[in-house]
Symmetry: C2
Subunit: 146 residues, 2 copies
């Protein structure tokens, strides 16, 4: 990494390690916000998310999140968990840049982390050569019970 | 409303009526994405969300979502529910414009809907004069089991 990742508390670290879903906000070609839920793996400094075999509305190369980050790498990644007891609410907001991983070794490592985190990925849901996004945090903020 | 709301299926309608949380993506002053979880009420055509008494990191008038929509009204509102059974996954993505509600009658109606939906709001969590955002959908898309 060119830059050191932001320092984060053990509470935030625990949330980022265990959360099963995040919401990825990107900008479309007209620089309007777009958002999708994503599965992700965090290696302690960057986040990885793959274009997997869950059904898609369009072919992978047409996916909004990929087209969007190519034009505008700035993204927001929101990790949170809703609870009816509002004293338990929390969120972690990661702002940074996303890029398609091009190095095969890094992609392989990312896919291994995703398969290790999500048993669903063992069942043919994730190709060895699936496109992988790397999200490099620039700033991490948190709110609530963390 | 000046424009008719987008036509949506009964499945999407049901999700928007029952979902307890959404994630609101906005743009910051540098036009980079920002996102927060929000509670909301949908009246069948527009979405309302209030600045309530949950603790905030900053005073209400400094809240990122309010500053952001003042500069750039375009927002994305993502409604989804994660499930470990990936055949059950779905999301609804609402793209549109957000504005602070200025008419007292509309704000009152919005606050009533929010209190009706969230029992938590009965317990002094929402002031009668709380700032309320109105999100007017321009486009609604859906994916998955809906």
């Amino acid at each position: 990494m060119a830059n050191k990742p932001p320092l984060i508390s053990p509470g935030i670290r625990a949330k980022l390690e265990t959360a099963r879903v995040a919401r990825l906000a990107t900008l479309d070609a007209e620089r309007r916000p777009h958002a999708v839920p994503i599965c992700f793996a965090w290696d302690g400094s960057v986040f990885y998310s793959a274009i997997d075999h869950k059904p898609k509305r369009v072919p992978p190369n047409q996916l909004a999140r990929l087209k969007n980050i190519k034009e505008t790498p700035q993204v927001a990644l929101l990790v949170d968990q809703y609870d009816e007891d509002w004293t338990c609410l929390w969120y972690v907001l990661v702002r940074g840049e996303a890029e398609l991983v091009s190095a095969p070794a890094e992609r392989k490592r990312a896919i291994q982390s995703l398969r290790a985190k999500y048993p669903q990925y063992d069942a043919d849901m994730l190709a060895d050569d699936a496109p992988v996004l790397r999200i490099t945090p620039g700033r991490i903020t948190a709110w609530g019970k963390i």
